[in-house]
Symmetry: D3
Subunit: 247 residues, 6 copies
């Protein structure tokens, strides 16, 4: 039995609130257990310098924990004049995850700014951010699409994320903070509706993992991704992504 | 008639949610119209260097707007490596307002960290922050007081804030963003339950104001502060602050 | 009797030296008692990005204390890589004060950079900065006006500042540092020759003030502003601002 | 056939120079093909604040590319006042990899500083850094061990890293820059001599990968890690790590 | 004939005002022609970490140009978050110059902070800073010495600085800005009353100088140093430095 | 006898490796005794803002010590968010030295970026950087010249640098670290093949030097520069710089 009574392959309760703030083109408040993240997607009609004139778009993500999203108050980055290394790592991960399912050429010369602000952290903030940000991204893209349809709809696939790990010798899914802090192995898995992997980020810092352990964790991760993508579809009230041309 | 149908001396609807996050000693989500601010108060058992060994406590405030709390996405301070000047001005104001009603000697060698993170901005974020942060501060102080009573209860008075201004020739209270951006005069008023003023910050940048206009605005402000303090009391389910010794 | 022998409604001795440095378009060294501030105004023929193409000008102020302008050496901002919060607050105040009496459309696409560098601080550096910077601003604007007259002369009114406060139960004007550090209430008042208020920034951090106290302090402030504007006129050898068109 | 004539499962030529600089306790210049990294390990007799008094040691890594290690000159971080996000991600990876095979309690209150400075980059700089830094770490630890033996020898296992990817439909190992920039999938694999995985960081940003592709890449990675660990042993002239107590 | 009518070996008019500000232990306003620098020396009863417990003192200098000390307004360092390279070079030079004539052991565990703030720049700001800062340093040291005499008086010698250069083929001393900007060679010479050199910093960036030119410039420099040291003595009303023990 | 057995006028062994890295237009690894510096020169087809449209080029240098190039690990500048003052001073010196022998008009609108990264430091890193960077600069300029000849070959003269000093009463050349740290006087001399001086930077911080000592040190420096320029010629396999037009 897990600390919060869940089964090993059971993810935490998820609650998705779309349209959470009124200005962002896509705004999702996602709660996975006690982890709560506000994911806002903003659209800007220009691209970073390295893409200028290439007819392609870009997706960039920023991740931030509010100071008291954690048990001990976390000093703001600006007070130290440095972005925390972990924050950097996570926001790069979110950006890669979302770009992997978006056709940046179809998007055209736009930048989608994805802001994931953690309101309360209880483990899995990076996977929660990805799963929630994808929903906000769909809302933002659809907002444009309704006003002025894309020739090719730019989102190619659903993408979601979950964590798996080995806790007290058990392979479990979607670790809460208390599990995470005692896990022997901790792995973040990001994948699509088609069962393909976008990124597998497994860390066995405390103790390495065998090939067999890795395989079992991947099996578990696949189950979690399916659950999460179903939740995304329900929240979006969509069975499938918009298909084909904008006409 | 005002843009949102309110009367001149009517503040916007206020909603207060206490205990919004689970870690902070005091955590209040306050909504004043469409302005929404998360106010978290954290307690630290040490004081800044300039107070070490003096037996006094301190209250320090940080204010921050989430990037998409506004109509156009605001670049994070850390991306520019600079705290925005307006942010600095506001967080200093919040700190002064709260310190004015707290007996820092009675508080003892503790620092209260007040984090006001604006989730959605529609005018009056600084006054909303002060009004909400006071409630969170009471919760945080009472949490300590219940565990280990203060000899003298350190909060001396209620404090709240509101804005007043001259919009289209009318003197109005609690300006929303649209009113604020066309106001001839804009003034923030911070005061106590006893009808005393803690800070009066009036700016007539567009056009100066006469002494009579100032007086009428102060009258209006007094009405708004009363309404806001009543709301604070209802939210806290208290008629008065804890009185006397902790015994 | 006040600590330096002044009467309650008497401001300190003021000395104004125009043309203090040879490069700045307007350069004023102002001494109010032992507070000494160098106010330089520079003219730049471009505007900040948010005003580009709007045909309007801008006024921006920077305030800085030299390291040994104070009793204890103050570390330079650059050594900490951060602008001090108080500095930010003050330079924003100076900017708003000056913009309130300038017709930015009449100024056209120019930026006036106002640098207030405190050489020696003995209370009231922000009000001294405003009073001195206004004189330097007039000199800078007139320098342009003589070379190539504005269609509409852009300065609409005199503006000056002074402080008032309650010290040892007495309401006094233009507090020196020693008075300021024991004041129960401290308020900065900025106003025009017409007796209108531009900004009223009253702080009762130590103890709130009643409405009546506020009124009496405003009365006192009005007297101080008149004295200071007379001094400005004498320094500028002008009875009134340039009027009408440049022809 | 690969661009440089290698077979799919063949890593590039590796050259290891120990004792490259004279001051560092461990100093290794490692060349993997045209990728060249200087790995210096320094020992400091204190630990970061979060470990003070716990009797444990720490390993921290810094990664940096020299400005002209790349085809286009890269601006130094200090010129932008920001650590590059990719750099952050990599130095955290190096730190985790090395800590996973070191018994930090056995190390005692020491910090090992690992500096990986890329002299020339041609793909795989992060995996090269890990493989080279491990050798330098062994040299540094042995230097202490010879002078004053540890009770328990703190290095528990060899650790090395390599990359695998799918290039032109072929699964290949140890990608050079040109392969890397056209790879459909790119994965960094870090593992021990015992065939266990420390971290698996697979990114399918361009296109996700199926479970079968992932499995085949892991197989390939295992082969590469064996080759690299053999090279590490040859360079160190050791068949196995020092075992048991220091007596 | 030089641009301002001086002879080749003639330095500009020098005016020294001691006790310019009231807080600094030594405060000198020095004017060399139109170059005007405020030199404040502050005493702190502690030393930088690298000297702790060694019983020695330290002298550290900071140099800064006010924004409008120059023809075109100079952006403040803090606005760019970087100390200008030239500023760094100069403040290191000032520090070395002053330390060269002070017995840091005799000074004991104190830091002398030397702040040179350029009010107006017309060439030779670094040499003016050194010559003026020395006078302020003497005042600061004597202030301590009078209160609590040093066992050994810590200032060993007078030190001053001047510049020499080749302008329009003529070797001249103490270049003003206009001369400096057309000089073929420009050299700063720092020396003592005994005719010894502390630093010779000759730059022939535009065109190298021959050994003979160098010799003639050094001859000229020696003359300038003598003039400047006489001025220092007159300003200090001292013929010689305090000698011997404090008893 | 010197600590490493050299004669007073003997420079250390010098080893020059051209083409050290494969990307830089000029890449030289220079070893002077145990001091080892990688000097890379990169060419960029644009100039800094202050030269735009003037038809001239620019040379800018960056100097950096790798963290473990020294006996005690040096914290990276980016970790402190500040460029070290000594670093600033040195990179400005390198830039001036190289610009003094290059005809920037003949170079045309190009920037030469000179990166001197110290791999191992044992005294004289700044002079080693200049001597090595000049060779890399010749290689970079010749690379352009071969592809598209300059009308006027832009390098006018060889430039090299060495240090001289007074150690244990002896005047010696090319000080190693141990000598440098006990030197009474330390001077860096930069000069051309024609025996002209580009910069003479003499510091007698510990104790000033007499005019006669200065003369003898300059004599010694001239000898060292000749030796170093001969080494540069041998490394470049050139007796003289490319002369005349590119046709």
């Amino acid at each position: 039995m897990r600390i919060d009574g869940r089964k090993n392959e059971q993810i935490r309760n998820v609650k998705v609130t779309r349209g959470y703030t009124k200005y962002a083109e896509g705004s999702v408040y996602i709660e996975v257990g006690d982890t709560k993240v506000l994911c806002n997607v903003s659209i800007e009609d220009k691209v970073p310098p390295f893409l200028k004139g290439k007819g392609e778009g870009w997706i960039t993500a920023e991740y931030n924990m509010l100071p008291r999203s954690t048990g001990v108050r976390k000093v703001r980055d600006i007070a130290r004049l440095k972005v925390d290394g972990r924050t950097m790592e996570i926001q790069r991960l979110i950006g890669r995850a979302l770009r992997s399912v978006v056709d940046l050429k179809a998007l055209g010369e736009k930048t989608l700014w994805v802001d994931c602000d953690v309101i309360q952290a209880d483990g899995g903030t990076r996977t929660t951010s990805i799963s929630g940000a994808f929903i906000a991204l769909v809302d933002a893209v659809n907002k444009i699409h309704k006003e002025k349809p894309f020739k090719v709809y730019p989102i190619r696939n659903f993408v979601a994320a979950t964590s798996v790990g080995i806790v007290n010798g058990e392979k479990v899914i979607d670790l809460c903070y208390e599990e995470d802090s005692t896990a022997k192995v901790d792995m973040n898995i990001i994948g699509t509706e088609d069962g393909e992997f976008v990124e597998v980020q497994g860390t066995g810092e405390e103790s390495p993992m065998t090939r067999q352990e890795l395989n079992e964790l991947l099996n578990l991760g696949e189950k979690g991704l399916k659950q999460m993508i179903t939740i995304q579809k329900n929240a979006l009230k969509m069975d499938a992504l918009w298909i084909g041309t904008g006409e």
